[in-house]
Assembly symmetry: C2
Homo-oligomer: 343 residues x 2
DNA sequence: TAGATTTGTGTAATCGATTACATGATGTTA
DNA sequence: TAACATCATGTAATCGATTACACAAATCTA
């Protein structure tokens, strides 16, 4: 009924041993052509499918890799995952996706679950694992399971990473806004305990300093990546004695909220106020007022992270080395920040 | 080094056998309190983690379930998956997500991969598996693995399903557009070989007939779910001798494209033209002109599908029954279709 | 043609956890 | 105290595939 054919069934049918069947199926050279042909035919006829669990148990390789992301319903993470799958499926790996929903405990749970599932590697974009919980990471490293951070990384020994140059992206964006004539640029930051947000902040800061503009702390607002927080932040900014004339938001969603609120206040974009987002979510392009944003090459990021994993798993000598790949960001300058037509 | 503690290691450390260790860890009553305590302490000290692969091999249960969707980067599917995870994680299941990208071969590959991985169940939203490939589905059923369709289903014996009442959603939407004074309603259809699209079409058709409006075949356009197809479809419609004054799009993305193009033609929405979408993608709410849409309760759909799976896996008698759950759709009437303020 | 080599299969251990059955050590009852 | 129940633990098979080693038959060499 439940119809599970094993190599023992095939062996019995042909009056040989399971070892021979296994050899025939695995192209082991120590087998006669006639037997091989017979086994392959019978296996086919009996609809044999290799039991990956048995294989995994014996070999110690599950052929699963785990991917941990904050959430999958943004274009960015969905595209990274697609990139990972495109590289890994052809190599015979299944991808197990876990979401943290930005919850630190969930992140730890996910790591444990993946380790229990005996994954061969973990690719993750960290949520906000505090330093005191680094031992969860250490356990992965000790087990000799390749760990690769993408996008949101943390500097840890023996852990590889694939990121974009967030500092550069941020510097260039700020520079662009200055060139558009915006001299009072507010900044929506993410949690700066994460490297990417720290790097982006530094880029913003350095660009201002290089243009002899001092930092106004009132312009720096911490937000979460959603529309409502963008709206609220604008309310705060407009209430200032000296309100800004541009916003650089490290989240497209917050940028959208900001634009909504600015319009409600009758402020004209980009004439009176420029807005720049980050992430190139599809909607930024579709809006009536298209939103400028930084493209993070998510597909490429996913593919690269997968390649780093393969590199680590295949070259045992390299296992302990840290591979760090930094991709180049692309500024997509759209209507929300274009006062002066570019060349 | 690689530090894998097994029950044998614990047994050796305590000078007892693995069987006893196993019993202690599994709360087997046939064990003394003192031994149990000792084993648990030692297991903890040695950082023991159960090897799920060995467990899976022996029990025949992998504690993995497969989810197959066309893609994960829409809010709808991402939310369904979240719902599935929320129900299944607490029960100890891991969710393996596969994307088909609407490709029929990819769909077959995914089914095979999941079967190889010995998943305990498959939840899927089919892409466009043609009837002649039904034997891939049959194989799943024969293996006695619960199969549950959600959203995009197919009528197959022994397969359960969770859907919304697409006919009703479509009927009510059409009725709503008629009440807004739109008497020439164009319809963007998906592939009608899929039940949901057939049902939606029937709802549209019946609502028109019930209002004594005959079907204009020129108004029925087949589209794929993206912005560009929506734009192109509008071009075709506006070129008609007798163009429509409303569009009911079974895709939010196509509805967005349609609105863009209509505006480019200087057509006022909703005054001159109403548009209604389907799916309640987040952007529909955020647009300057918010887009009316049908909410499909994706979170609830995912949770329900997961519950059906649990029902099937736990009650062996029910395994052969087909459970079919139909959720109620919710019309979200926003600016793009509101000429007459509702009560 | 005796001895060496090659070739194809079989035997049995292994991966880690579970569990039916066996066994020995207690405790209980008449 | 003989007979028996109870309790805790050990023994060994099992899940399915792979592979080092053993071995017999076929082939080759001088």
């Amino acid at each position: 009924m439940s119809e599970k054919t094993t190599i023992y069934d095939i062996a019995k049918a042909l009056n040989i041993t399971a070892a021979t069947v296994s050899r025939a199926l695995n192209n082991n050279p120590k087998i006669s052509q006639s037997t091989r042909k017979l086994v392959l035919e019978t296996a086919n006829k009996m609809n044999y499918k290799q039991n990956k669990l048995a294989l995994a148990l014996r070999s110690g390789k599950s052929n699963n890799v785990g991917v941990i992301v904050p959430r999958i319903n943004t274009n960015f993470f969905a595209s990274v995952i697609r990139g990972i799958e495109e590289e890994l499926h052809p190599e015979g790996y299944q991808v197990i996706i876990c979401q943290t929903h930005e919850d630190e405990n969930r992140e730890i749970e996910n790591i444990n679950t993946l380790l229990n599932a005996q994954v061969d590697g973990i690719l993750m974009s960290i949520s906000n694992l505090p330093d005191e919980n680094n031992h969860y990471i250490e356990r992965v490293i000790q087990k000799n399971i390749p760990l690769i951070f993408f996008d949101r990384k943390k500097e840890i020994k023996n852990v590889s990473s694939v990121t974009i140059d967030d500092y550069m992206a941020s510097y260039q964006t700020t520079q662009h806004l200055l060139e558009q004539g915006c001299d009072k640029i507010a900044y929506f930051s993410g949690d700066r305990s994460l490297e990417i947000y720290e790097d982006r902040y530094r880029g913003y800061e350095q660009a201002l300093l290089d243009n002899n503009i001092s930092i106004n702390k009132d312009y720096i607002i911490n937000i979460k990546s959603n529309v409502v927080e963008g709206r609220d932040a604008v309310e705060k900014l407009l209430a200032l004695e000296n309100p800004p004339n541009a916003i650089f938001s490290t989240s497209d969603f917050a940028a959208l909220g900001a634009i909504q609120k600015l319009k409600e206040h009758g402020i004209k974009i980009p004439e009176d106020f420029c807005v720049f987002g980050f992430g190139n979510e599809p909607f930024t392009k579709f809006m009536e007022l298209s939103i400028s944003s930084v493209d993070q090459s998510p597909l490429e990021m996913g593919k690269t992270a997968a390649q780093v994993f393969l590199e680590k798993i295949n070259n045992k000598e390299n296992k302990k080395s840290e591979i760090q790949v930094v991709l180049m960001p692309k500024l997509l300058i759209r209507q929300s920040s274009t006062r002066i037509a570019s060349i």
